[in-house]
Each structure stands twice: as C-alpha cells, then as structure tokens.
Amino acid sequence: MSETPAPARARLSFDARMMRAGLLFAAGFLALFFVLPLATLLLRAFGTPEGGFAGLENFRIYATTPALLTAAWNSVWTAALTVVIVVPAAFAYAYALTRSRIPFKPFFRAVMLVPLLAPSLLPALALIYLFGNQGMLRELLFGHSVYGPIGIVMAQVFYCFPPAALILSVALSTADARLYEAAQALRAGHARIFLTVTLPVARYGLVSAAVVVFTLVVTDFGIPKVIGGQFPVLATDVYKQVVGQQNFNMGAVVGLVLLVPAVLAFVLDRWAARQRAATMSGRAVPLVPKPRAARDCPLLLLSSLMAGLLLGLIGVAAWGSLVRFWPYNLSLTLDNYDFGRFDTAGWGALWVSVRMAAATAVIGTAIIFVVAYVLERGPQQGRLAGMVRMAATAPLAVPGLVLGLAYIVFFNHPANPLGWLYGSMAILVLNSIVHFYTVGHLTAVTAIRQLDPEFESVGASLRVPQLITFGRVTVPMCLPAMLEIAIYLFVSAMTTVSAVIFLYGPDTKPASVAAVHMDEAGQASVASAMAVAILAVTSAAKLAQLALGAVLGRFTQAWRGGR
C-alpha cells in the first residue's frame, strides 16, 4: 500500500455539505421573509409617497401632530396600568399553583391557559355585552363608558393573564427546598422567608412578565379596535394610516415607533432570562409545599375568583353569540352562526383560517426544527451562523402589525419578483410562520440541547450519514417538542389578527379578520359567534395535542422510563 498524498485543504464531507445547505436555506428564508421586508419598511419611513427621499420629514410631521403623539402616550399608559394589575394577579395565581396545596391544581392550570386559545377581540366583545351601551352591568361603571381606556385595560388584563401567569409559574417552580430549610433553621417567619427567599428567586420572572405584558398591550390590535371607541392608540393608528388613508410612509413611521417599546422589552427580557439562568443551581432539591390553611385558603379563594372571571368572560361571549337580540330578547338561537347572511364568505372564512393555520403548523414546524438543528449541530463558528441565530430570535420583538405592514411594502413593491405572493394563501402562511417563529425556535433549541451532543459523532464514527441519524434519532426524540411547536403555531395562526389584516386577499380572508369586520359593521353578536367558533377549533386542536401526547408517551414509555 503506498502512501496517499495529503489532501491540500479540508474536504467538505457529504454531511458538512448538507449542513452548509441547511444553513444557507435558513439564511435565505429569514432574509427573504423577515429581514428584507423590515428593511423595506424602514426605508419607507424615510421616503415620500412618490418614492423620493424625505429624510426625517415624516418623523418631523409625526412629532408635530398632536393626535399621533396622544396615541403613543395612550398606548404607554394603558399598557403600564395593565402591567400593574396583571402582574400581581398572575403572581398570586402562579404562587397558588406552585407553592401551595390548593386542590384542583390541574383544573386551575388548564383555565389559566384558556384565554390563549381565543382571539384577543373575544374578551373585548364579552366586555361590551356586560358594560357596553346595552350592557347588563353598565351601572357598575358609574356613568363611564367602557369604550375607551377602561374597556381596553379590562380586556387586556384578560388577554395578558396567561403569558404572565405562565412565566411566573415557571419562575416560581424552580425553588431550592434547602434555601427554605436554611431560612427556617435560622427562625425566619413566613413573611421574612417570602421577602428574602421567594421574591428574589422570582424577581427576573417578574421583570419578564412585566415586559411581556407591556409589549403585548402596546402591540395588540384586536382589543382597541373593538372596544377602543374614539380612544386612539398606536396599533389602531397604524391601521388607520394604512388602510384608512393609504399613507404608507406615515404608517411606516408609526410602525417604527411601535417597534421601539417592543425591541426595548425584548432586550430587557433576554437580559432577565440570562440573569435567571445564572441564579439556578443544577443541584437544587425541589420544594414540596406543606399544607398550611392560613396560606392555602385565601389563595384558593383568589384562584377561584380569577378562574371564574376568565371562564365567565368566555361564557358571556359564548352566551352573547347564542341569544337573539342582546339584551332585550335573551331567547337562544343559532342565527348568529349563519355567517353567510352577514359575510359572503360565510363559514368559508373559518375554513380559510383552518387551512392557513394547518399549513403554518406543518410547514412552520418543519422549517423551524430543521433550522434549529442546523444552528445547534452544524458548524458553530462563522458569521453566517451567528447572523441566522440572531434573525431567528428577533421576530419575537416585531409586533404583528409592523410585520404585516413590512410585508405589504415589500411584496407589493412593483419591482419585487415575488409580488404574485401578495393576497395569496402562501403569504398568510409565510407571515404567520415568521410572526410566531421565535417561540417555536426556542422550544426546538431546548429540545435539541437535551440530546447527547455526541449522537452525531457516534453516527459519523460508524459511517452513518448525519441525515440518517437525524431521521432515526433526533426527530423521534424531539417529537413531543415538535407537536408542541405545531400546536402553538396552529393556535397562534388561528387567533391572530394584527399581521394578516393587511395581507389577506378576496378569497383568503381569515376568520379572525372576518370577526373584526363584522364588529365594524355593527354585528357584535355575529363577531362573537365567529370568535367562539375560532375558540372551538383551537380548543379541539389543544385537546388533540393532549391526546396525541398521551399516545406518544405510552408508545415511547419503554425508552424514556427508568430501569
């Protein structure tokens, strides 16, 4: 055997070429459907309607238009007020779930998540039934109108409760029992332990919850649209500028203004997440709360109240959709569900939504998972990988309205060869994938990181292509996470209004947008019916996830379970 000459440079193996291709695909996808649209929007903010360069002129007009500034201020203070109400309530609820011995915890946990399944305009509609001009409980507002800040804040509290409670219950569930034992051994009282042990552990969770709620309120469109009345906020301003006045440049400016708090919140939240990770020790002994009536009874009462409010609001919306003429004729009817009488698309809108959400879930999960895998298990060095990693986490910071607006100005541009996408089902799906990209991405990354980092090395040493190891090991092991991503994408795409409201075409109007239009047309009960129909679909999807997860769990119990 003669010595073979040494190859001059590193040869790219088949595996390395596949990873390279995956990375290029990820970069192309995120560039085309995220970075370039946003960049175009940015340019529009500095342009004139005729396509010329306006410099800072648009911003000067914005800063000197009192109505626009008022809207910005309104957004900020309603958001701040919502934070002040939601975060303590969510904290108490999360505390009851994680640190007490109240009964029916699974029920309370499930109820906490229900608002996530409904479009944001559903609580707003329910509040109109209760406190609106024909509301049953109108007297409780003492002459104030629900159409405006009162209604907005009340509906936002409902809408923002689940994410805040989720974040806080995660923050509170990672407790080290030894800290509590140490505090007790030093004879600290309950109040002192709460202040010196519990709160410090949860403080980054509190920061996260606060910024997430703030961002949600500032960027939400459905609630102020339905219950805001004449009360202007940033989100409705964007819509008015673009859809009402066709002023894309000013819409872009307002969009950028909307982006500011969202980006700030995003940065703050990432900071909090890093700090939180640093405070967690790997060898914590999990805390098992002991029964204590003085704590458990008030918490049970409070949780029941919160759960009652959450379910009650949904119940009111559902009831309102079923009565003949609120509040004068409360006899039940299914007339409001005969959507064809109010909108030419009729039930077709719901079908469009289901198709769009299903496509988003299937295609989105595949893209998100493959990209996360390439980023985690591909070559770690290189500028491209770093940039793609950043682009994958950035969509969380971009409000749906801004993304939708960016899609209009990008795909509607006469020079864009992809212009044919505009108004098609494909653009709705792509937009939804990008809009909800980050949460799925983080879920996928977490799942992949839990796998042994040497799986690919073992495969390579046995001369098995990485693609086969991916298919035989990585994907089966990550199926639960993929299911979670798919359902998240499905539910989000079903309920979203903000991005798609700019992008639908004549044959592709989703149900959530249809509901907004029905409400605009004064058909509140029909809008409720549509929102309830959406809720029914998303609830079914969630239940399907639970059932599938259980089947999957039984199927894979042998290799997950201990010895």
Binding site: M1, E3, T4, P5, A6, P7, R9, A10, R11, S13, F14, D15, A16, D452, E454, F455, S457, V458, G459, A460, S461, L462, R463, V464, P465, R472, V473, P476, M477, T556, A558, W559, R560, G561, G562, R563
Partner: protein, 375 residues
C-alpha cells in the same frame, strides 16, 4: 473469536507489520481555539494492537488530541497518519475508528440490538448477517439476552458495554475511549476496566483511552502518555513513568511523592535541602550550585528509631498519621522539610510512631528524583 482474529491477521498482512511503521502516527499536531493553545506540537506513535492511555488533569488537551485523531475537531496544524494514510483532514465518516464517549451517547429510542446494529448498514450487511453479528457482539460483552431492551432499562455498566459493542461492530482498526468509565461507581469501574483490557487483548484492536484517573491508566495500559498544558510530558510504560518520571510534573502527578527544593553540592551526587546534606544519584551529572526540585516517594522513605539511625539519616518528628488500611501514611518534619512516609501499620507500630515521636529517616540515594529548575 474468529472474525476478529481474521481481521487482526488481515491488518498484520497490510502496511503495518509489528516492528515496521507504527499503526498511528501523530506528527507535530497543534490545536488552537482562538488565542488559546489547546495542543502544542504533539508527536506520538502507536503500534498495532497497542493499548495507549492519555493521562492528565482536566484541560491538559488529552480529549482534544483524541477528538483530533477521531476527526471530530481536526487539528489546526500537523499531520495524523493511520495505517500509512494521511487522515488529518478527513471527516470522521471517512476514517476507520470506533469511539465510546463518557456519556456513551446510546440512542435512547433504539433498542440495544438496534444500537449495536446502527453502523451495520449497506449492501455488505444483509439482514441475516447483521443479526448474526449483533448477537455475536452482544455475547462478547455478556449481554446476549438484553438485545430487546432499551438503554434506559440497563444499568450504567451494561450501557457502557453496549456502547463498546456498538463501537466495535464495524471491526474498526482503532478504538477510541473517551473517559469510558468515569460515569460509573468505583467497584463497577475496576471490574469493567479489566474487562475492556482483556477484550482489547483478545481482539488485538489498537486502542487509545483518555482518562484523568491514574490508577485506571496504570492498570490497563501498555503505554501511558502523560499530558499537561497541551503538551506531552512523558510517554512510557506504567512502570517507567512511575519509577523514572521525565519531569517534575510527572513526578508529582503520578503516585504520591514529597517535593522539596534543593541545591547541588559537592562532591558529585550530593544535594543540600533545608540545611540537610542528602545523597542523590540523579544529581551526579549536575553542576555544583544548580537549583533543583527533588521528589521522594513515601514508600521509599526508610524509618528507624533515633538510637538505631544509620549514617546520613535525617532526624525527623512525626506530625500526623493517616491510617489507610493496608498502609499507614506518616507526615514527617525535618526542620523546614516536609516528608511523607508509607509502610504497613505494623511496621510503624513497632517503631513507636505516634504524633510528636522522634525518628530517623533515610532517603535512599538511588530513589531521590532530581530535576534542575528551569532557568
């Protein structure tokens, strides 16, 4: 084991006869991570069928070198030749090795049999032949009846054997073991390392193991490569590195020893440490006045009662006693010198060794290890 025997014989007929070119050559291999030098100009030859261990503290570069040989993290400079073939830049999939990781990296969703069969694919492994091979491998590692179980249903030691069987399935020319035993508890570990050694000797597969456990390295290796700070400190048989360490690092790292500073005195072969003149054969070639670091192993320190002190013995005081079962270790003080001595507990009892007792210590001239200080 006929298949392994045949494979080994086939390799012997190839380019690498014993006494001919080494099976694996590592030449001037270096690895940098940015500004950090993980490996610096490492040279190493491994003969066919040899069991070589890379030993060193964490961060010494032993795992980096192993991953370089495997192609998982290719080196930034130098060459690696396996069976006469330059493999430096080859991706792992085009090399000829099997690897066992510290975590075993068994595929949890595949059964034990599927794990072992993972690399047995393609036209050369039709189903019946593959099944036969898996059964054979499982019986070699003593898990013949466990094929249908999942890794999570096995004990740590059993998982380790599955990983070994999987790594050996393709009859690799080179077996790499990355801290294969460190996830196991002490008793299983001792047992398994001998099992690995006897399996390796039966199969004749060239093996490189990485470990930070010197007992493990001494127990199984033909040769040990002691590493520190990205460099090779010494390569030798376990007895060589224990008896004749090549550097102060090796002398301190391998086994126990007492260390003290000294200066070369005259006549040749004498050193002065802490005011005491000591004979040290190893200091003979050194110039008068050279500063040296000296080591002596506890079991080489001879103790006598003060009244029976041989000439040249150091008067010492006992400062502490550690009872370790088979041996007893004494901490001794001779002025500024601190020494350890080890012997059977009975021997020390006969000397009346207890804290505060005065004794006479003899450091045999041929046992004192001397290293000139770097200038």
């Amino acid at each position: 084991m006929p298949p392994f025997g045949l494979a080994a014989a086939a390799r012997l007929d190839g380019a690498t006869r014993p006494g001919g070119a080494p099976y694996l050559r590592v030449q001037e291999v270096g690895k940098r991570f940015g500004a950090f030098v993980a490996l610096e100009r490492v040279n190493l030859d491994v003969a066919e069928g040899e069991f070589v261990t890379f030993l060193g503290p964490s961060g010494c570069g032993k795992t980096t070198l192993l991953r370089g040989i495997a192609g998982l993290d290719p080196p930034t400079s130098g060459r690696i030749l396996q069976a006469g073939r330059d493999i430096t830049r080859l991706p792992p999939a085009e090399r000829d090795f099997g690897i066992v990781f510290q975590s075993y990296a068994l595929f949890p969703n595949l059964t034990v049999a599927q794990n072992v069969a993972y690399g047995l694919r393609g036209p050369q492994w039709p189903k019946p032949r593959m099944r036969e091979r898996v059964a054979e491998l499982l019986s070699i590692v003593g898990l013949a009846d466990q094929g249908a179980k999942y890794p999570a249903q096995l004990s740590g030691g059993q998982q380790q054997r599955v990983a070994l069987a999987r790594a050996l399935a393709n009859e690799p020319g080179l077996l790499l073991l990355d801290e294969p035993l460190s996830a196991l508890d002490a008793i299983v570990r001792q047992h398994l390392r001998q099992e690995i050694r006897s399996l390796q000797q039966r199969l004749g597969v060239t093996t490189i193991m990485v470990t930070h456990d010197q007992e493990e390295a001494m127990g199984v290796s033909d040769r040990i490569v002691v590493m520190s700070g990205g460099r090779i400190e010494q390569i030798g048989t376990p007895a060589e590195i224990y008896a004749r360490p090549a550097s102060p690092f090796v002398a301190a790292f391998i086994g126990h020893s007492s260390r003290f500073e000294a200066v070369v005195d005259s006549p040749a072969g004498m050193i002065v440490a802490g005011g005491h003149r000591l004979a040290a054969e190893a200091a003979r070639p050194l110039l008068f006045g050279t500063r040296v670091t000296a080591f002596i192993r506890p079991e080489h320190v001879r103790l006598d009662r003060p009244e029976a002190a041989p000439p040249g013995a150091l008067p010492v005081r006992v400062t502490g006693i550690e009872f370790l079962g088979a041996v007893c270790r004494l901490a001794l003080e001779a002025g500024p010198l601190r020494l350890l001595a080890a012997a059977a507990p009975d021997a020390f009892a006969a000397l009346g060794a207890e804290p505060g007792a005065a004794l006479a210590a003899t450091l045999p001239a041929e046992r004192v290890m001397v290293f000139p200080e770097d200038v």
